[in-house]
Symmetry: C2
Subunit: 363 residues, 2 copies
């Protein structure tokens, strides 16, 4: 039942997580170091499929929340998310059967691996975003009816807040305020649910998928093949069944500030040939890419900024002036494009005026 | 055992609460309406002394927190603080024997009366500030060793956060952030303690005292006597054993903004005779009064701005240009002037450079 994550898989898994993270989710390097440390301590990471969860098994997802710009300076100790999970268990009066990512992206793909390894809990191969999003209500869990609270937010001092809200928007609002007061990053356990519910509301297989994506990029490099071509070949065999390079060039302007608890900003990419310019707006994650004011890709579809040669994903907090990049847009699975889903994490959820248009249509 | 608060006492009690509130604690009029409503519903308010608490009785203080400028616009429904108390009871796994004010001032003298009336719990005739202060760690409870958390913060939607912190400064920091996100006012239950501890760490008799102060002002008015003279006569018979009018004049300038969760500002009072000017800085409560840059009264001693004719206390959110006022400074009891107490709520606790000097020395 399930499979065990090998240490040798970690670099690939973190690369793939940064890809699905679409700019956000936190620096995958830090996430990798944390899992490596747990493995060095003799723990193992066991991954199980949604179908392996008993109907009544308690699943408690765990994650980091905050601005990625903060996370690279205020590093996790490793015990914070575990404390959140334990505190939520105490509140619920039940032990967790498994933990799970809330998002597929960066450090939040690996945080539950650390929690699972240290506690001997399996980690469910699924998540609630199918990518990374900046807000807690932007979850398929929420879209399909699971309350996010009771949730627990913990900091590095062991200070904890248990939040209970009448809706998931209020949860995000209060939790964001608490995270800001905790210094801009914190550690959460939320969306506790049973196995039967998890099967209904999760994006399945995203841990396997990020590993596959990471491997695909590495294998192409090793074979001296074009990693972008390899990705475009791979994606149609996954639920993310369409990918396309929509721009390439050099970062010629960058605005980024850590405000309201997020890394907010805009990256401008100038085509090598001159003339054309792509603007990408981000809020932790890349949200919309425009050329000459015209949308070229838009949430919830993925907008991945990748190194121009190696296809290594570049997170929004590590964007730099002068980087040579390709921008790849990727279609998200149908569960993330329903009207209910788009109402929560479509363009309107971010105050973006343009409607959602699938990348297959735009490209 | 104990005594029952009469409806006819409420106006006096609220007036006295506004006096000890030293500008803060929230509009006493709103507090009075809430108690009247509870009495109209057939409830009674029972007050007991600290000496009537069994050693092991659980006392859960209740209060409103936030900016008084917000409180007069976002009125309490009456159930919020009760929900906080119930949530804290559930967390502790014990029922409260009594509730108690955390401060003697404005609405926070009456909030526990509403909670007590509605739940049939006695209210302890004591508090943790002996006046009003703007921050949660500024409690004799905290000074003498009681942890403020676990605490519960509730809003009008029933959203609740249970906060557990490693120290009381962090409690204030997180709770203030949550209160801001709840719209600038919220309802708390905190500093749960047993009866034996309550006797050791509380400022005793402050509910009786505010009633006595309120009555004193009213009686003087009715007898066509000077209410200021009456107060100055009364105070030496209380633990607040010195009071003096330190300035009189007209409010000639006022800066007030609701920021960081408080009503912050400065009132300038010009003497009727011209020339002299007193500046009073406030953060919810009046903190320091200076004339020509020289301290005339300073926290934790009381700085009470009172109507020039009636001695009706004027809270900081109701200060207006042109008001004719007298400023009375009052000595606080010894429990609030120990080195430990001054370290928490002396001038340094507010970033005020001048040291604490007792009003008896200054005046």
């Amino acid at each position: 039942m399930g499979w065990t994550l090998e240490r040798g898989d970690l670099v690939d898994l973190c690369r793939g997580a940064a890809f699905l993270g679409t700019g956000g989710g936190g620096d995958p390097y830090i996430g990798r170091l944390m899992v490596e440390q747990a493995l060095d301590e003799g723990h193992t990471v066991k991954i199980i499929g949604l179908d392996e969860l008993p109907d009544d098994a308690l699943v408690i997802p765990t994650a980091m929340m905050g601005a990625p710009t903060v996370i690279i300076e205020k590093l996790p100790g490793g015990e914070e998310a575990i404390r959140s999970l334990h505190r939520l268990e105490a509140h619920l009066g039940r032990k967790a059967f498994a933990t799970m990512p809330i998002e597929a992206g960066g450090i939040n793909s690996t945080m539950p691996l650390v929690v699972g390894a240290r506690l001997g809990l399996p980690v469910v191969d699924a998540d609630g975003m199918g990518r990374a999003f900046p807000e807690l209500q932007m979850e398929t869990f929420a879209v399909y009816g699971v309350p996010g609270t009771p949730m627990v937010i913990t900091n590095e001092w062991g200070d904890a807040t248990l939040v209970e809200c009448h809706d998931n928007m209020m949860m995000e609002w209060l939790a964001r305020g608490i995270t800001i007061r905790m210094g801009g990053s914190a550690y959460i356990a939320e969306y506790a649910m049973d196995g039967k519910t998890a099967r209904r509301v999760s994006v399945p297989g995203t841990l396997s998928l990020v590993l596959e994506i990471g491997r695909c990029i590495r294998a192409a490099r090793q074979a001296h093949r074009d990693p972008f071509a390899a990705l475009i070949e791979l994606l149609p065999r996954t639920p993310y069944n369409f990918g396309r390079v929509i721009f390439e060039g050099k970062i010629v302007d960058l605005r980024r500030e850590t405000t309201q608890g997020w890394a907010m900003g805009r990256a401008r990419i100038g085509a090598f040939s001159g003339g054309a310019v792509m603007d990408i707006e981000f809020k932790n994650e890349n949200l919309v890419a425009r050329v000459a004011g015209k949308v070229r890709a838009i949430v919830p579809d993925l907008i991945c900024v990748l190194d121009h040669e190696t296809a290594e994903p570049i997170t929004t907090e590590t964007l730099r002036y002068g980087q040579r990049v390709k921008v790849m847009a990727v279609a998200v699975p149908p569960i993330m494009r329903t009207p209910e889903a788009l109402a929560v994490f479509g363009p309107g959820g971010f105050g973006i005026d343009e409607p959602f248009t699938p990348i297959e249509t735009i490209a």
